[in-house]
């Protein structure tokens, strides 16, 4: 049996902004073809963790391995090659306003992989169909779509290049519960179809339960609990219990400033 390294492995990752320590020695491992969801409150370092893995932010300390390869010390050119393995769905969708919907979906193929536009358009329309959007939607501008449709387009864009790793940043934020469930199901289907490794961050427990194989909880820049999705309700961790039950009382104290 071949002993392949985990798809993503973070160890001792530290990142600070001025005096504020956001990641404080974070350790996390994501296995191949696994869907890991990181839960945690606002400002606990979830998005910064994703940005460090993608190289959008450089950590001050620690190691980030992708397929066993160190990425922190990579040059800009090397990182561009590495990014071809990744797809990402952004919290606010981050669709390009100046491009049509199909051009958004085909962007990674046309610009990143130098594919002819016609060929890329066919793939883009197929990916839009996979997320339940017809070819007419492809001709619209992103601003003409509802929030749920924009999320679907963003998902189609994230999977268009058939990446090995897909990141989902708060995929259901701002959506009604039904549309959130539609997006969750699409995420599960797309990730399974591609056989991709998925790393999601959310504070929506319904979403986490639906899309995760494993769940990790981040608090004050560290992973304080990690386990199977089925174990989350009896984790024995008071922080996890408070978070998943949405209680104000507990060890997690919200910082509320008097005005």
């Amino acid at each position: 049996m071949t002993d392949l390294p985990p798809k993503i492995a973070l160890s001792g990752v530290k990142k600070r902004f001025g005096e504020k320590v956001v990641l404080d020695g974070l350790d996390l491992t994501v296995g191949r073809s696994e869907s890991l969801v990181v839960i945690g409150g606002s400002g606990t370092g979830k998005s910064v963790m994703l940005k460090c893995i993608l190289g959008l932010l450089r950590p001050e300390e620690g190691s980030i391995l992708v397929d066993g390869e160190e990425t922190v010390s990579k040059t800009r050119g090397e990182r561009e090659k590495l990014l071809r393995k990744f797809g990402m769905l952004f919290q606010g969708s981050a669709l390009f306003d100046s491009l049509k919907v199909w051009e958004n979906v085909a962007f990674g193929l046309v610009q990143g992989r130098r594919m002819p536009r016609l060929e890329a358009k066919e793939i883009a329309l197929a990916k839009l169909a996979a997320v339940g959007l017809g070819p007419k939607v492809g001709e619209l501008a992103p601003s003409e779509l509802s929030g749920g449709m924009q999320k679907r387009v963003a998902l189609a864009r994230a999977i268009a290049t058939e990446p090995e790793i897909i990141f989902f940043d708060e995929p259901t934020t701002g959506l009604d519960p039904i549309m959130a469930d539609v997006i969750n199901e699409l995420i599960v289907k797309c990730v399974k179809d591609l056989g991709a490794t998925a790393l999601s961050i959310t504070h929506d427990m319904a979403s986490a339960r639906k899309i995760a194989d494993r769940i990790a909880m981040i608090y004050k820049g560290r992973i304080i609990w990690c386990g199977s999705r089925d174990d989350i309700d009896h984790s024995g961790n008071p922080y996890v219990d408070q978070f998943i039950n949405g209680r104000a009382e507990g060890p997690i104290q919200m910082q509320v400033r008097a005005l």
């Binding site: 993608l54 959008l56 090659k81």
Partner: protein, 257 residues
């Protein structure tokens, strides 16, 4: 001591900002020459900067030429030197007013638009999305705008020069009763190639600064709508200052003996 510390802090902030701008400029310029080059985007920016700025630049040049003819006539009439009006108009327009006014108008129109567009892309994570789609934002967003700014402002200034001189001609002939043929011959008589070339060199430099400031401030904007607003203001103000300062330096290079 507090006073000295404040000066020191301001000085270090200035050095940091200068260093950041220098690094941004060197990276952006290097991407203008390294493949892949996005010709379609360069073309689109050229149309935005050149074609869509024509009305505002043309109108500015027309009325500047007209005012210049009127003012120089009323001034020179005191010394019976009305014959110099055509020469003053053409030299002022080609050497100074054409490039400077076109630069300032484009800074207001294009520099602000660039900062707002790139700034919005920054705060809505579209620039991060570009990176995750294996596309370098400097190459995709900044380099085409720099090339277009550098190339299109000289063309705009050529048009502004012609319209400005025409504005002076209109006032001179129809309001001040100059002989048209005489006015045109005076316009050509003292105009030298260097007058036009210096204006075009200035225009290239101004176009580069306008695009650079728009991109730089947009690229580094943060904090939502307020951040984008600040970026837009800073882009226009800094581009205008750079235009005025570099105008003096380039004039010194071309015309000081």
């Amino acid at each position: 001591m507090e006073f000295l510390a404040a000066i020191g802090r301001a000085f270090f902030i200035f050095l940091e900002a200068t260093g950041r701008l220098a690094l941004f400029t060197s990276r952006a310029v290097s991407h203008c020459f390294r493949p892949p080059i996005y010709f379609a985007l360069v073309g689109r920016q050229m149309i935005d900067i050149g074609y869509y700025s024509l009305p505002v630049v043309g109108l500015t040049a027309l009325f500047t030429g007209m005012v210049l003819a009127l003012q120089s006539y009323t001034g020179f009439a005191r010394f019976q030197a009305e014959g110099a009006v055509a020469t003053v108009v053409v030299l002022s327009i080609t050497r100074e007013l054409g490039p400077v006014l076109a630069g300032l108008m484009v800074a207001g129109r294009i520099g602000a638009a660039m900062a707002a567009e790139i700034g919005t892309m920054r705060v809505t994570e579209q620039i991060d999305a570009l990176t995750t789609l294996a596309t370098n934002p400097m190459k995709y967003l900044v380099a085409p705008r720099l090339v277009a700014g550098l190339c299109m402002l000289p063309l705009l200034v050529v048009v502004a020069d012609i319209i400005g001189v025409f504005g002076g001609f209109l006032v001179a002939v129809y309001k001040l009763n100059f002989n048209p043929a005489n006015y045109l011959s005076k316009t050509w008589e003292y105009l030298q190639l260097m007058d036009v070339v210096s204006g075009l060199v200035k225009a290239s430099v101004f176009g580069f600064f306008v695009a650079l400031m728009g991109c730089y401030h947009g690229y580094h904007s943060k904090g939502g709508a307020e951040g984008v607003g600040n970026a837009t203001t800073n882009a226009v103000v800094s581009a205008s200052i750079l235009i005025l300062v570099s105008n003096y330096l380039i004039t010194g290079m071309f015309f000081s003996k």
